[in-house]
């Protein structure tokens, strides 16, 4: 690449330096900006979707396709362009090398390539709004519909390719980094939980993404080259795409969930000045357990899809067993609070909100793990509300919490003010007001992806309420983002370790670390841990 990436970073803002950077921290910030851009546009879609559903009949759309395109963009962008890059792009890039005492990642230029691919994907995704025949295949893209539709399936496929390739490169890079570039003396049991969760997420990405990439590529061939891979009339298997898709996309939930929980652990351990409760159980039972089990549970997305009966029952058992590793993680989270010395700030308030969200989201997953329950609940707004509690709220709130928590590290300033707290309150109230009504009407049978629910006029009041909630959240999010931008430039100057954390990114690196991250080489001894608060 250019020499700019190799020279030291100058004091003033230099756009060229940012664009051609190979510095993991700048790449992390660029990931954050890109994923927040995707979040804002996809969030706007969510508002439009809620506006359309607020009352019976067409409100803002001229036909169903408009609505379907909004759903497509909201789903695909939120998961593929916001949550995954926000957690494994932004948070992992910026903080993982700092946490393990590395000067950068193993392959900085490949890291930059990942970022570029991600930005291309964002641009491609945004082009959705200007092309004719916009893609309308949901983020799942099931054939035969995705093959027979007028919509432009190729856009979907290429976006998945770019993001998938970006993620695979990222996964390779970070796994090599963690294996080979830990500070001398740092053993596997001394890593931050966030590092462990990120490693787990990248292992999942590495193994499963190529399967999704293969599946969508064959979809492309079917639609544009006239092959019959998924065409049941000509020897294709109509169910295979769904299996391949969820073979990746259920593990993708853990690609999001694990780093999200990792951030929660960092914040809760730091703010309660406590060691992670039963660290080894969380790491080897919780995180590794999820990685092991994640490839055997995808059929719970296909409980009503016509899979063989024995497979549906077998995977009901494996799906329910996910509660064991998740339960161990939850116990460790809760245990970390026990006899802590808890100080509160906006990052901690977000973390507390997440404790509630993880309970609601996790526990409503239990009926959905059960095949017989899902025969009714499948594809209702109950499912919709359940995974929004996990993805749309828990994971999203951890990204926000992470930004608040590491704001001093990234900008040298604090963002913890009254506006931050007001926006948190609005966000929290808004999402609950939006999604609790959807739980209720979901059990009554409100189908997902319906703009028109004239067959269920009794659900209209619930949709009214849900839409009000969406607007409350929108105000909260807007305030929050404006506050971030303001505080990044004008916020109160922070100490190097404002939370008095023991984690390496706070103790060894200055705020806004320069190239090379650490003023001096980091070496740790065997008694060091990132959670070593109570030296008895």
């Amino acid at each position: 690449m250019t020499t700019a990436s190799l020279t030291t970073q100058s004091e003033g803002f230099n756009l060229k330096e940012w664009i051609f950077t190979t510095d993991h921290k700048r790449i992390g910030v660029m990931y954050l900006i890109g994923s927040m851009a995707a979040f804002v546009v996809a969030g706007l879609m969510a508002i439009l979707i809620r506006l359309e559903q607020s009352s019976l009949g067409a409100q803002i759309i001229s036909d169903g396709t408009d609505y379907n395109v909004m759903l497509y963009f909201h789903g695909a962008a939120m998961i593929l362009a916001f949550l995954i890059p926000g957690l494994t792009g932004f948070a992992a890039n910026y903080f993982l090398p700092l946490m393990i005492g590395a000067k950068d990642v193993a392959f900085p230029r490949i890291n930059a390539l990942s970022l570029w691919l991600f930005w291309f994907a964002i641009v491609l995704a945004l082009l959705t709004f200007v092309i004719p025949d916009k893609p309308d295949i949901m983020w799942t893209g099931y054939p035969p519909y995705s093959i027979t539709t007028q919509g432009n399936t190729a856009f979907y496929v290429f976006t998945v390719h770019l993001l998938g390739f970006s993620s695979i490169l990222g996964a390779v890079n970070f796994l090599v980094t963690v294996i080979f570039m830990r500070a001398p003396g740092m053993g596997w049991n001394q890593l931050n939980i966030f590092v462990w969760t990120t490693v787990a997420a990248f292992i999942i990405q590495l193994v499963f993404i190529p399967v999704l990439a293969a599946a969508v590529t064959l979809l492309l061939f079917d639609k544009y080259l006239g092959t019959h891979f998924f065409d049941p009339t000509a020897g294709g298997d109509v169910l295979l795409y769904q299996n391949l898709f969820w073979f990746y996309s259920h593990p993708a939930v853990y690609v999001i969930f694990l780093p999200a929980v990792g951030i929660l652990f960092e914040i809760i351990a730091t703010m309660s000045k406590n060691a992670v409760f039963n660290y080894k159980a969380a790491v080897y039972g919780g995180i590794c357990g999820i990685v092991l089990i994640t490839g055997e549970v995808w059929v719970h997305h296909l409980y009503v899809a016509g899979m063989p009966d024995w497979l549906r029952i077998g995977q009901m058992v494996t799906t329910l067993l996910i509660s064991v590793p998740v339960g161990l993680l939850v116990l460790s989270l809760w245990g970390t609070l026990y006899r802590g010395a808890i100080t509160y700030n906006v990052a901690m308030y977000y973390a507390v909100a997440c404790l509630y969200l993880i309970l609601v989201g996790g526990l409503t997953g239990i009926p959905l793990a059960m095949t017989s329950m899902t025969l009714h609940l499948s594809e209702t707004s109950f499912v919709h509300a359940h995974f929004h509690f996990i993805m749309g709220m828990l994971a999203t709130f951890t990204v926000f919490a992470g930004v608040y928590y590491w704001f001093p590290k990234m900008t040298g300033r604090l963002a913890d003010n009254m506006i931050a707290k007001i926006s948190l309150a609005l966000n929290f109230i808004g999402v609950n007001v939006t999604f609790w009504p959807l739980f209720i009407i979901g059990v009554e049978g409100m189908p997902r992806r319906y703009w028109n629910y004239e067959m269920f006029p009794q659900f209209e009041p619930y949709h009214h309420v849900a839409t009000i909630g969406a607007f409350i959240t929108a105000v909260g999010i807007t305030l929050m983002i404006l506050n971030w931008i303001y505080c990044a430039f004008k916020g109160e100057i922070a100490d190097d370790n404002p939370w008095k954390s023991k984690s390496m990114e706070w103790t060894h690196a200055p705020n806004v670390p320069g190239p090379g991250n650490f003023p001096e080489d980091v070496v740790v001894d065997s008694s060091w841990t990132p959670y070593n608060y109570d030296k008895r």
């Binding site: 169903g64 396709t65 379907n68 309308d136 099931y142 035969p144 519909y145 027979t148 049941p232 109509v238 406590n274 060691a275 409760f277 039963n278 039972g285 009503v304 016509g306 549906r312 029952i313 009901m316 058992v317 494996t318 329910l320 064991v324 339960g327 161990l328 116990l331 809760w334 970390t336 609070l337 026990y338 006899r339 802590g340 010395a341 808890i342 100080t343 509160y344 404790l355 509630y356 309970l359 239990i366 009926p367 059960m370 095949t371 017989s372 329950m373 025969l375 009714h376 499948s378 594809e379 209702t380 049978g445 189908p447 992806r449 703009w451 028109n452 067959m455 008095k500 608060y533 109570d534």
Partner: protein, 231 residues
Amino acid sequence: MKRMSSVVAGITSLVAPLAANAQDGVIQDPAEGWDNLWYEMLVDITVIGVVFMIAAIYMLIRYRTKDPDAVGRGPKLTKAQAIAWVLIPASIFMADDFFLSAKGWSLWNIQRGVPDNALEIKVTGYQWYWEFEYENGVILEELIVPIGQPVVLRMTGEDVIHSFGLPEYRIKEDVMPGRVTYLWFYPKEAKETVVTCTEFCGVAHSEMYTRVAAIDPMEYEALMAKEVAEM
């Protein structure tokens, strides 16, 4: 895999007596079974949720401090304690999992075990309407069934994947080209309800619904006679 199979085999033997539907001539209604299990589920997850929530709230209040230099005094676990803190909760979670699996499986056997005397209706899903073909050749675009007799739907699709969702009867199953799927339900009382398409199928996905009427057998016979005469 081996462990899983033995676990599965164990559960099979657990629920085997419940497996066959209508064994003693009594037809078990899957919708009723669903409602009952749902109720038990709600109790189960509410109890877990409330216990954890109370624990969290208690600790968040009890251990708060204003002193920024205070440190937490969390317990340092011995090896035995650490292992116990894995095994005991894991076995509790697993016990609940297997309990729920067994419960879910016995309901599943009812949901999938079609009674022998079921009325068979062929369903075809099109973009974007349903077609119902009765055994006497009558074709309707709404589902009309007599009360008091189980109904089994043998379903296939003509174009893309749809899903036949009957919220009132707590059941649904996908409908797709090239494969035949089935579901059954038990209309016990006269009522009008609706079937909706619950798998995204295109521009008019949310308009792909139709009336489902469970009517008196006499009325049903009369209607069928009229339809046959018109054929």
